[in-house]
Symmetry: D2
Amino acid sequence: MEKVNVGVIGVGRIGQLHARNLKYQIPGIKVLAVADIFEKSARETASQLDVPIAEKDYRVLLENKDIDAVVICSSTDTHAQIISEAAQAGKHIFCEKPIALNIEKINQAITAVKKAEVKFQVGFNRRFDPSFKKAKDLVSEGTIGTPHLVKITSRDPEPPPISYIKVSGGIFLDMMIHDFDMARYLLDQEVVELMAVGSCLVDPAIGEAGDIDTAIVTLKYESGAWGTIDNSRKAVYGYDQRIEIFGSEGCIIVGNPTPTEVIVNGAEDTKTDKPLYFFTERYQEAYLAEMKEFIKCIQENKEPPVGGFDGKISVQMGYAAKESLTRGSFVKITR
Amino acid sequence: MEKVNVGVIGVGRIGQLHARNLKYQIPGIKVLAVADIFEKSARETASQLDVPIAEKDYRVLLENKDIDAVVICSSTDTHAQIISEAAQAGKHIFCEKPIALNIEKINQAITAVKKAEVKFQVGFNRRFDPSFKKAKDLVSEGTIGTPHLVKITSRDPEPPPISYIKVSGGIFLDMMIHDFDMARYLLDQEVVELMAVGSCLVDPAIGEAGDIDTAIVTLKYESGAWGTIDNSRKAVYGYDQRIEIFGSEGCIIVGNPTPTEVIVNGAEDTKTDKPLYFFTERYQEAYLAEMKEFIKCIQENKEPPVGGFDGKISVQMGYAAKESLTRGSFVKITR
Amino acid sequence: MEKVNVGVIGVGRIGQLHARNLKYQIPGIKVLAVADIFEKSARETASQLDVPIAEKDYRVLLENKDIDAVVICSSTDTHAQIISEAAQAGKHIFCEKPIALNIEKINQAITAVKKAEVKFQVGFNRRFDPSFKKAKDLVSEGTIGTPHLVKITSRDPEPPPISYIKVSGGIFLDMMIHDFDMARYLLDQEVVELMAVGSCLVDPAIGEAGDIDTAIVTLKYESGAWGTIDNSRKAVYGYDQRIEIFGSEGCIIVGNPTPTEVIVNGAEDTKTDKPLYFFTERYQEAYLAEMKEFIKCIQENKEPPVGGFDGKISVQMGYAAKESLTRGSFVKITR
Amino acid sequence: MEKVNVGVIGVGRIGQLHARNLKYQIPGIKVLAVADIFEKSARETASQLDVPIAEKDYRVLLENKDIDAVVICSSTDTHAQIISEAAQAGKHIFCEKPIALNIEKINQAITAVKKAEVKFQVGFNRRFDPSFKKAKDLVSEGTIGTPHLVKITSRDPEPPPISYIKVSGGIFLDMMIHDFDMARYLLDQEVVELMAVGSCLVDPAIGEAGDIDTAIVTLKYESGAWGTIDNSRKAVYGYDQRIEIFGSEGCIIVGNPTPTEVIVNGAEDTKTDKPLYFFTERYQEAYLAEMKEFIKCIQENKEPPVGGFDGKISVQMGYAAKESLTRGSFVKITR
């Protein structure tokens, strides 16, 4: 099995998480370099993780012949450009979602990747969550017969800063994009049209920033099955990520994992843990599993299970949701 | 406390259930008469429950001065007429839902009830389910702050006969009507508009009968909160009746009760009971509680908690859903 | 099917419960008489339940030719004598546990019952709880293979009055007697020896009354399987009645039912209901089921599933536990 | 914070697990050497984990001045000797349980450790399980008032090879030793006496090897609280590790974690995952947490939370259980 040298581009919270997983949890890998527009961040991460190279400019990593693959965790607006350049430099690419908020840019990135024939995986981490994966596998195996309904609950424990909201592309492209991918993943089929409703119920400042914080989207699948996704930017009890798939022969429900299995029977009620706080806690295993899969695809020359098309379609679903919200009716998904 | 003499009109499955509850479980009541268009049914029920009077024609009951209250469980198309006549005869009235499928008839029935100043309760039994009632009370007490989202799951274990489907008024007026009432009950506020989708996924014969068997309705509440209801005519695992209310300070979830608390840890998996089979099992306590409440309202001269307006608005929501399904857009609820 | 006329002897809390079940929930029965040493209680109960005869002296009931069966719910010290007399009078007998605290008296009662060839059922209500019954049935069907371990948890929400403790026979004969019966019932085999430990941890007044309030008993079954029973007189969270049966092919666990299925996700933790408060709530269905079974055994001329031998052996296990507590070693069960 | 160089002695399953955790998951550590009596194992592990030194003889590690601490995972009979030598060599010591099966040897090891003033931690990993730790902390904080009862369930998914059984010291010293430590840990107090029962129910070959495979031990705590531990060598549904602590103000219950949160509602029953398979799965976090704690104690010059006394007392409890099984009565714990 080929040893893979990796460079991580962008070492904010999620970049550091991937760098740490690559360094400590995936055998046969070397994290050769990190880059960050904030050079200090790059240096600190390199020092902490004993990474030989720390750069401000990601291009230095792309020019480094020893680096086989890059993991792109920089800000969204830089993804497409870096993908294109990395592909031209012959690097395999793992890129955090979304590829871009602009479909044209996504197309260019996908074209560059195809031309270069490098591996390309998009960071839809939830596909690698053991519970969601089991649910999907059970659906594939026919355990619940023909799927009729999919219900996805996805609520964050707290909204991001308003400054982030403003550049995020809005709730459908920033938050629900994960759920659009989950909706497609669970039934292994496309959504043909969707209808969005929503409003600002959590924090008026989000509304003033031009976004909404609460949304429900109804989905129609190719097969005729129906789905709903509900999002809220703030669930005081923690990260709420549940799914339900109802079919002709049964129903699969995935609940939230908790930090412990402790039950306290008290004089007033019975108490258990609230759900894990947020994505780094909830998807710890999923983040590691997706990166292992990416490395495995490089080593075994396989196509990554979630790539450019998935990255693009989820953005298109986000745009369809935006349009539906304005028009007040169903909108077809462009493909 | 006044002793109440009751007559039960219509002794099919649900009429028998009410008669039995009245006879055996509610002290201070006398079931004086039963009537059924199938006279044999009336006689058999009377014999089983030791009820003195069994009639074919409900009018005999209305003319009986000793009868204080009637419980109407005849077929839906007869409800409004019987309500009007019973009101004129000065009887207190408990009527199974829906009052009628025709708004004009509902209005006439409500007018008759108001004029006669009799008690009038509509059989939205689920409001009296201990779990749903607790959920509603917690919402009222502010336990979860301001409600943002309501999710109602409502699936039957098996579809009714096609012959019934044909005269049922369709899934929205026959089945989802309960969920419309639940949606209003839980937040104690009105739904202002709704959007319905759905199709025939369970049994083509239902489609041939002009109905659908799978539906999702999105609701917008007065307060700006959002809701969804999903219905299926067939859940192989039994009656699936769950709700969720998400608010600014928490989330309330009501699951399905099961026949036992037995858990079996086996070599392959861990098994627990499936939910209770259908409404007579699931809502056993609720059916009794609603009838106790009706009798109590008579005895204490109180207004029943669920009456004509509730009966009417739920039908109007059903019609709005039908219209929305056709139009493919949100439809406002007429009040 | 024969109509059965029943008399209830002793209408304290449990007597009233049985009388109410017989009156309202069991078709084909007539509660013809009630008796209570406190005549006022007898009269009040008779009035409430519309029972024709109310007497101070139970002998009047035994002399009444119309009465087919008696349900004995008087104080424990009167059970054996009433059983003997009722048997001589040819009445079928349901008697609350225990038959007596004195083995000689139990033997006399059993002999009288056998001689008179009347039906005799002892009130081990828990055998009729749907969860415990399902657990036992699964064991019988071999679902968990050969049983190796049985664990019974049995804790009351609060201790009885000290005045009751003093005449109760002590925790093993008053409280754990139910668990001894459960232990035998679940595996359908006898316990050959047991070892008891315990002390007064809940309330020193219980100790001063010569009893303990916390106890653990280890059981050895005929088959070589082992069991434990733990008792506490006070669980602040309500009636705690759980069992576990571990075998070569799996494990069955029965938890506590709760009043509702409501889950509240809050900022601090997730809350659910505490268990049902006490035996009248928890064993509501079981009390009804055991009485239905008793009536059915009379009507169908079958042997009741729990009779004199079961009543006697559970008392003998209680005495063995008392002796073991004193001796500090295992004690064989006399049969 | 001091950088710590570690040597791992014995790289069987558990040694490899610790080496991997030290290498990949604990920052500021260097795994400098591994030793194993099977030199090939040492070399393979060193190669996989990029460890510079691989030796057959652990003494080479003890002589290496660069090594600050050793992690002893060799066979039980070598623990005490290696501890003594490592202490003399001034190494901090983490040693898998048990220290030895011979009390004299344990005393010598403890004396050597004390004299050398090195850190010494014994591998009672379960203390570091997040659920058990939370339960213990809740007890310490008084959440359930004064503890009255402790119940520990501990069942392996399958017995070890008979060859291992023969040298294991028997179920009480090999398996229940963990539960003895858990019993002391949960209440933070000593057990004063215990009573053991048990037999061979799982596999006659275990009996022929002179051991039992099913056991129940009753514990009496210093405070007067009572406890039970039940062990089985074979639970077909996986590793069953549950606890319950009942007190004057409530009850804490810890259940088994499962691989996923998937629930499948099917036509026959509702299915969820069985528990995690065995200790490497269940105690993954605990193994890491105990090692982090050991390293932290070295770096911050703190006393490890579980040391020589704990290692010794658990063995003494094992011997007391053996004696009790033979004598059929309670046996006091020597300290």
